[in-house]
């Protein structure tokens, strides 16, 4: 709870700092504040948590683990933002504040114990994101992204809320424990209203995590939004979405999995194929990352399809691996774009000659996203595959393998461009804090890939 309070108060302090024009202090204050919040989260580890505030919130190990991932990713992303927002506008304090408000929503999303809190968390996060997607006020693409995201988001919120209402109508409660008890005690006579509620909630949540066929907003929004915001959306926000998804389904609906598993199975397979095959045809690195993030949503859905004791762990490991790899990819993209002015693959041609470090870390990132052993991405896929195979969903895993093979084509395109194609180019300047973030992420990717035990036994 301390974590949430710190992250909620921090943006208000930042707004005051902005008011008094202390621009230089913004980033340090944010980072220090987040580090304190991180410490507060870690302090709650193994704290025998019980639901607090009349069962509204529950800060168990699950919440702590996902809060930590979200906060660490946010810190890394904000470090990359040094000097980034200044170029876009004068009101930087507001951007930091909005990102932190969004993070506060995310903390609620990973620690709710009541459907109302889940909804509030999702809304706090989403409303902040609608603004962030449009922070380039004079840029058409950014405006389009914000408007599209807002309209589609509002629409999906409706589904989610309707679903929650139907669940409440049948079970008579918003509380996760009470709903679970109701499901367990009424095994034979669950009314259709409850099932409809589950389906509507699936629609709402699938929209938030960008799973097909509710993914249509993703590419345009990801492409139109500034790269750092895209990075924030495709990592922290997506991970929180899955944490919320899993928390609800593991807590309430696990005993009636036979009903919703086929629905999610279809969604998963569609998500994998649509994400991967569309990513193949992209010329823009950023758009490729957008579609590949859809396919990663497909892999993350595995843990919910094969709901079991290991699901939280699988999502945690996969999400961590995916987040740090994405941070590298977008960090490199921002640097390359500053030099070449385009998001296309050609912009990476010959990068290895002039910037061996940048090329190396981006290679690690691509190998991790592709799921090659000795990187964190492989461990994530390994956990997912094991979980699904344990449920005897052999065909789903075969589909996943086919998709993993397809993904090699587009991830290796970047590697091929950097190492094997030549282009006249100058050295890309890599600022020190970029070096730190990219280097740290690359090392973390390899360390998790070689010795995953220290994060894979957490939850």
């Amino acid at each position: 709870m301390t974590t949430l309070i710190i992250i909620s108060v921090l943006p208000i302090i930042l707004l005051y700092l902005g008011l008094y024009k202390v621009q230089k202090a913004l980033l340090p204050v944010t980072i220090i504040g987040l580090l304190i919040a991180l410490g507060a989260a870690v302090a709650q580890w193994n704290d025998n948590a019980v639901p607090i505030y009349s069962g509204m919130m529950l800060f168990n190990n699950f919440s702590v683990a996902f809060s930590v991932v979200s906060i660490v990713s946010t810190i890394l992303i904000l470090l990359l933002s040094k000097g980034y927002f200044e170029k876009i506008s004068n009101h930087i304090a507001e951007y930091y504040a909005i990102i932190l408000f969004s993070l506060a929503g995310i903390i609620v999303m990973v620690s709710y114990h009541n459907l109302v809190m889940m909804f509030i968390g999702i809304e706090i996060m989403s409303v902040s994101l609608y603004i962030l997607a449009g922070i380039r006020k004079s840029d058409f693409a950014s405006n389009e992204a914000a408007l599209k995201y807002f309209l589609m988001g509002a629409f999906s919120t409706g589904f989610l809320l309707f679903g929650i209402a139907l669940i409440y109508g049948s079970s008579g409660s918003f509380d996760l424990d009470t709903i679970r008890e109701w499901v367990v005690t009424h095994p034979r006579n669950i009314d259709p209203m409850f099932y409809t509620g589950i389906l509507l909630i699936i629609v709402g949540l699938c929209f938030k995590v960008g799973a097909a066929p509710f993914h249509f907003w993703t590419p345009d929004v990801y492409e139109g939004a500034p790269s750092l915001i895209t990075l924030f959306m495709s990592t922290v926000v997506k991970v929180a979405g899955f944490a919320a998804f899993l928390r609800l389904f593991a807590a309430c609906f696990s005993t009636i999995a036979a009903f919703w598993t086929p629905v999610l199975l279809a969604i998963t397979i569609a998500t994998l194929f649509i994400g991967n095959i569309t990513a193949l045809y992209q010329q823009s690195f950023k758009r490729m990352m957008a579609f590949s993030s859809i396919s990663h949503a497909g892999y993350l859905l595995f843990a919910i399809v094969a709901l079991g004791a290991g699901s939280a762990n699988s999502i945690f490991v996969y999400a961590t691996a995916y987040s740090i790899a994405s941070i590298i990819a977008f960090g490199a993209l921002i640097l390359v774009r500053q030099q070449t002015g385009s998001d296309n693959f050609e912009g990476f041609n010959g990068l290895a000659k002039k910037n061996p470090f940048l090329a190396l870390v981006l290679t690690v990132s691509m190998l991790s996203l592709a799921g090659i052993p000795l990187t964190a991405g492989f461990i994530g896929k390994f956990f997912m595959f094991s979980g699904v195979l344990a449920q005897y969903n052999t065909w789903l895993v075969i589909v996943a393998v086919v998709n993993a093979i397809i993904s090699i084509f587009y991830y290796f395109r970047v590697i091929i461009a950097m190492y094997f194609r030549t282009a006249e180019r100058a050295e890309v300047e890599v600022p020190a804090y970029y070096k730190f973030v990219l280097g740290f992420s690359a090392i973390a990717t390899i360390v998790i890939g070689i010795y995953p035990s220290f994060i894979s036994t957490l939850i």
């Binding site: 390994f382 094991s386 895993v397 093979i405 094997f420 894979s456």
Partner: protein, 488 residues
């Protein structure tokens, strides 16, 4: 002393090589490769050739998933370790006359790949085996794609996707076996003790078979191989053909047949036929090649087909033949590709039809070429003969007709190899070949070592056969006992 030191030294060496200057990289790499060879020799000296696993190592890695860092050396692994540690320094020596751009990365990748290969050959845990398998693939992809020929980008992505696809299915097979074990471990002994139904075993069989068949490669999974071999830098080709393809063969012996005996019995005939077709098919294509390196690439498919057939016959003799033939083929094919590396570096072409008469201007070279060639075509008293003889005997026990057809490889091989020799080396020297200088320095050393090995193993193969004999007999008998029971 455990096998860990053998596995981690190359990784450490790779990192250290990255720290030295480009000019010194090859010396540093050779230094570490020779130390690794010395270590292998030390391991061999203390090795007791019974069926037990020695120098074992078993550390928790991801215990909650049943993954342990479990490795060790038995007779079968020992031969593979020898093959790897012997060939890597030789391959590094063959590059001494090359000046590679960014040489330290090149040699670091070779050493890193060696670590992956040794992991594959010593792993006793399914997960570790898979990790080693892929850890060997990534470096060779970069070696081939960074320092390769003109079409390297397209060809190598094909190669990578082909092999990666195969290995992912193998990963599924490994996870599947793990889920069936009662105590949820990736331990290979647990896999051996499973009794799965025929359907289950058939699935497992195919999951592993595709990965191994692509790696070897077996017909019809071979289409990546000639292009990749031809476009790779010569050291890359040697790593691929000398050592890496043995991963597939070793996998069949250790992971495919013992893990799914009933599945194997079910499909034994089919895979035998595929192997035999591969032998004949590759030999016929080799006839038509005018590019020397490509010819050797196809001849390698033919040889591997015979090794596969010998293993699929699953007799002690056949598998023993495969063991010694893996070593011999590794030595011979490295020699053969080095011969072509020398020729193409001097003449800037590999077109056989433009050559002739090199024997007159380069006598030492021609002797070395001839000895390697005789080893390749399995003349008695060369190393190739022992292996091919045992392999054919194994196939003969299975089916006389398969043996007769597979035996054609010896005749075909003799024809296209000797014809190649005639066209390249004999006759009158022409404008192109008159300038050919004889081998010297490191070239002489490498070819000398290879020739000595060819003849030594050919004359007295017993020590090598002895290393793996007990382990092979034990494995073959255990699995054959299951065969008598229908494979369960």
């Amino acid at each position: 002393m455990t096998v860990s030191i053998l596995l981690f030294l190359p990784v450490l060496a790779a990192l250290l090589v990255l720290l030295v200057k480009n000019e010194a990289a090859k010396h540093a790499a050779l230094f570490f490769a020779v130390i690794e060879l010395g270590l292998a020799g030390y391991f061999l000296a203390g090795f007791v050739p019974d069926a037990s696993v020695q120098y074992g190592l078993d550390l928790p890695w991801i215990p909650q998933m049943g993954v342990y860092f479990k490795a060790g050396i038995d007779g079968i692994s020992m031969v593979m370790v020898l093959l790897t540690t012997l060939l890597v320094p030789l391959i590094i020596l063959t590059t001494y006359k090359h000046e590679y751009k960014n040489a330290k990365a090149f040699y670091a990748l070779i050493l890193f790949m060696q670590a992956g290969l040794l992991t594959v050959f010593t792993a006793l845990d399914g997960f570790l085996f898979y990790v080693g398998w892929e850890a060997a693939l990534i470096p060779i992809y970069f070696i081939c794609a960074l320092w390769g020929g003109e079409n390297r980008i397209r060809i190598n992505i094909k190669f990578f996707i082909y092999t990666f696809a195969g290995s992912l299915f193998m990963l599924l097979g490994i996870i599947y076996l793990y889920l069936q074990t009662p105590n949820k471990l990736y331990d290979i002994n647990g896999f051996y003790n499973l009794s799965l139904t025929l359907t289950q075993q058939s699935w497992v069989f195919w999951a592993f078979f595709i990965a191994f068949a692509i790696k070897m490669p077996l017909f019809p999974f071979h289409t990546w191989q000639p292009d990749t071999y031809t476009e790779a830098p010569s050291a890359g080709t040697m790593m691929l053909s000398g050592i890496m393809l043995k991963m597939g063969i070793y996998g069949v012996i250790r992971w495919l047949i013992p893990n799914a005996p009933a599945g194997f019995l079910q499909w034994q005939n089919l895979v035998m036929i595929l192997s035999v077709i591969g032998v004949v098919y590759a030999s016929l294509i080799a006839f038509k090649q005018t590019d020397g390196k490509r010819l050797v690439a196809y001849s390698s498919i033919a040889h591997v087909g015979l090794i596969a057939a010998g293993i699929f016959a699953w007799t002690t003799q056949g598998v023993q033949g495969a063991m010694i033939q893996m070593l011999s083929h590794g030595i011979n094919v490295v020699g053969m590709f080095f011969i072509w590396d020398i020729i193409s570096r001097r003449l800037n072409t590999r077109d056989i039809s433009q050559m002739g008469g090199i024997a007159k201007v380069a006598p030492n070279f021609s002797i070395a070429f001839l000895i390697i060639l005789l080893g390749t075509v399995a003349l008695p008293l060369t190393n190739g003969f022992v292996g091919e003889f045992l392999l054919l005997k194994g196939v003969f026990n299975y089916n006389i007709w398969f043996a007769a057809i597979a035996g054609l490889t010896i005749i075909f091989g003799a024809v296209y190899m000797l014809r190649m020799y005639k066209n390249v080396m004999q006759g009158e020297a022409n404008e192109l070949t008159l300038t050919f200088t004889d081998i010297a320095g490191s070239e002489k050393l490498v070819l000398g070592i290879i020739c000595v090995l060819i003849i030594a193993i050919g004359v007295y193969p017993q020590p090598i056969l002895h290393i793996s004999e007990a382990a092979v007999t034990n494995l073959v008998n255990t699995v054959s006992a299951k065969f008598n029971n229908g494979g369960f």
